[in-house]
């Protein structure tokens, strides 16, 4: 039994102990991405990158509940949308500054996410996915059928000012670009830190060895609620960024199509890993963008890739890279020393 915990701890312990080279690499990638708008100021490409970045924030939050906490939550898109609607409505109806609206939107999403955490505790895996999936469908259904004008129904919210109403169009894009990049870094670091913290180890023990967790007095209720609160907040902030950048939000941000794309991104990157969401989101955004003129083919190809990856590449890209690395290092060490048995 304690093997499960030490295995979880070992898996967890790997991340913060990155070699200096890896840290340099990560900082370099972020720095290069940060200077893109200065050297290459194509508005279309920047818009695609910002939109992809917002999805990455959402995916980071989803990966936290789905991959790390192991709760089959398929309602995350509704949490994201509710954060967006919350922020957007505050921008429309109050005089609060945009950034505060985004944070409040995050808090609203976080609160609803916590409410969603309660029923999942009693349910077994596949029932959780059904329940949360149904929750997302209800949220979408209610908004689509809202005739009161409050949420704008299927046409979406009225135009909002967003975060940077004072800036010109070009400066706005740059400002959003850097804001989203900063949020990605913050969200990823937060999730990575949590994964290796007491909270993260508790969550992974509940996921992998629930009986052992219970025997050791790990209270699943407390930890799951914290996990849902944090992931809900990150998703809600992503929603707030969406409504700010697009100056509106419609119920089409939820539903089967965006959910299929996001799940594909997570699975292709590698569920439960830290780099997975970034790898998957980047790769799929590139594929989507290059196929933008063929919307039907785009999703057909995505679905096929999803199927192939799950069947043939368990663990996604991160798992694949790890296997290749270990094979190479084993091959190298076999070449150096006498062959080992086994």
């Amino acid at each position: 039994m304690s093997a499960a915990v030490s295995a979880a701890a070992a898996r967890v312990g790997r991340l913060p102990r990155l070699s200096g080279l890896s840290w340099t690499g990560i900082v370099a990638v972020v720095a290069i991405v940060a200077v893109v708008p200065i050297v290459y100021s194509n508005n279309y490409i920047l818009t695609v990158m910002i939109t992809g970045g917002i999805v990455l924030i959402l995916n980071t939050s989803w990966n936290f509940v789905l991959g790390i906490a192991g709760v089959w939550n398929f309602g995350q898109l509704a949490i994201y949308a509710l954060g967006g609607y919350g922020a957007g409505l505050l921008m429309l109806h109050t005089g609060l500054p945009g950034w505060l609206c985004v944070i409040l939107g995050g808090l609203i999403a976080s609160g609803i996410s916590v409410l969603l955490a309660f029923p999942t505790l009693r349910l077994y895996g596949i029932y959780t996915s059904l329940l949360t999936f149904s929750f997302a469908s209800v949220v979408q259904f209610i908004i689509v059928n809202d005739g009161s004008g409050f949420s704008g129904g299927s046409f979406g919210l009225d135009t909002v000012d967003g975060l940077y109403p004072g800036l010109g169009a070009r400066a706005q894009i740059h400002a959003y670009y850097w804001t989203v990049l900063a949020l990605i870094v913050v969200a990823t670091v937060v999730v990575a830190r949590i994964r290796s913290s007491r909270l993260g180890i508790a969550l992974q023990t509940i996921r992998d060895a629930p009986g052992f967790a219970a025997a050791r007095g790990v209270n699943p209720l407390k930890y799951r609620i914290i996990a849902f609160a944090i992931s809900g907040f990150i998703a809600g902030v992503a929603g707030g960024m969406y409504v700010s950048f697009n100056q509106s939000i419609t119920p089409s941000v939820m539903g089967l199509t965006p959910m299929s794309i996001d799940v594909t991104m997570l699975v292709i990157g590698g569920l439960g890993t830290i780099a997975g969401p970034a790898l998957g989101t980047t790769l799929l955004t590139i594929i989507q963008t290059s196929l933008v003129d063929y919307p039907g083919i785009q999703l057909t190809i995505l679905g096929t890739i999803l199927l192939l990856i799950v069947v043939f590449v368990p663990g996604g890209l991160v798992g694949l890279i790890a296997r290749v690395k270990s094979r190479v290092s084993r091959w190298v060490s076999e070449g150096e020393g006498p062959a080992r048995g086994g």
Binding site: L131, S134, I297
Partner: protein
């Protein structure tokens, strides 16, 4: 409540309950036998709708042809879906989270099918005519023949499925596999063939449902989404893998919807339904008849 309200509630319950049963029972059959939640079941309803459109609207052939064609097409498609999205994972059953992985792979098939339909037929809704036109009025409640035929056919097919499972050689095999896989193999049941055929059969029932639903709601690439959701709710409510539970759940959900539609109005029927189901699940986490260890098929 007036007597016409009462008639409306009874009729709506029977019509909704029967079609819900038909599109959900395949999902139960698949879960009971293969232990997977087949997310491509909604796509089969969608494909059935397009087959109905092609044969009734484009070719203007007999409705019987449409039903048979929908059965055949979705049977083949369901078999094929099993072969590409489930069969390759069978040998790794012990190492992976089989339910989660097949949830995703069948979902991937659903994505591909919906977008192939979008490629082939375009995004616009296609009109599917009712299988029979006309209707009658009972106590001021209009009853169209199409809905009556839909309920009748659904009930007939569900009885047929029951007889198939309890009387025929392959029906025995499906029940045996659902209860003890190794013992069934020792009896000589070829599991590698039985799994795809079970998924084909389940898909074909949803496909026939799709022809009827097509006339009620059009055929379009997204016309499988709502039936998928309904089927998920029915099976979760009845308890995964329990045929009896699925049937009860289908009619109970039909009744809740009928009450909501007649008494509150159509818009709020779905949210009310979800509310009721959420409440039930909080008190009975495995659904009405679900039991994690017993009662398979």
């Amino acid at each position: 409540m007036s007597s016409s309200d009462l008639v409306a509630i009874v009729v709506t319950t029977i019509v909704f309950g029967s079609i819900y049963g038909l599109v959900s029972i395949g999902m139960t059959l698949i879960y009971g036998t293969l232990r997977i939640l087949d997310m491509s079941q909604g796509s089969m309803v969608m494909v059935g709708g397009f087959v109905g459109w092609g044969i009734l609207t484009v070719a203007t052939w007999n409705p019987i042809v449409a039903l048979i064609a929908a059965f055949v097409v979705t049977f083949v498609l369901g078999t094929f879906t099993e072969l590409i999205s489930v069969q390759p994972l069978m040998s790794r059953r012990g190492e992976i989270d089989f339910e989660m992985v097949t949830f995703i792979t069948t979902f991937a098939v659903a994505i591909v099918l919906a977008n192939l339909a979008l490629q082939i037929f375009g995004p616009f809704q296609k009109n599917v005519p009712p299988l029979i036109h006309g209707g009658v009025s009972i106590l001021g409640v209009h009853l169209d023949y199409h809905s009556m035929l839909m309920a009748f056919t659904s009930i007939l097919l569900m009885i047929g499925l029951g007889l198939f499972l309890s009387r025929t050689r392959w029906g025995f095999a499906i029940r045996a596999v659902a209860q003890d896989l190794d013992a069934a193999r020792l009896m000589g049941v070829p599991v590698g063939k039985l799994y795809p055929l079970t998924m084909g059969l389940a898909s074909a029932l949803a496909g026939i449902g799709g022809v009827f639903l097509g006339a009620l709601y059009f055929a379009s690439p997204t016309s499988g989404d709502l039936p998928l959701l309904t089927a998920l709710i029915v099976v979760i409510f009845g308890g995964l893998g329990s045929l009896k539970g699925t049937l009860y759940a289908a009619y109970i959900i039909g009744l809740i919807q009928a009450l909501a539609i007649v008494l509150v109005g159509t818009t709020w029927s779905l949210p009310i339904l979800y509310g009721v189901i959420l409440l039930v699940l909080i008190f009975r986490p495995y659904g009405l008849f679900g039991n994690p260890s017993e009662a398979r098929l």
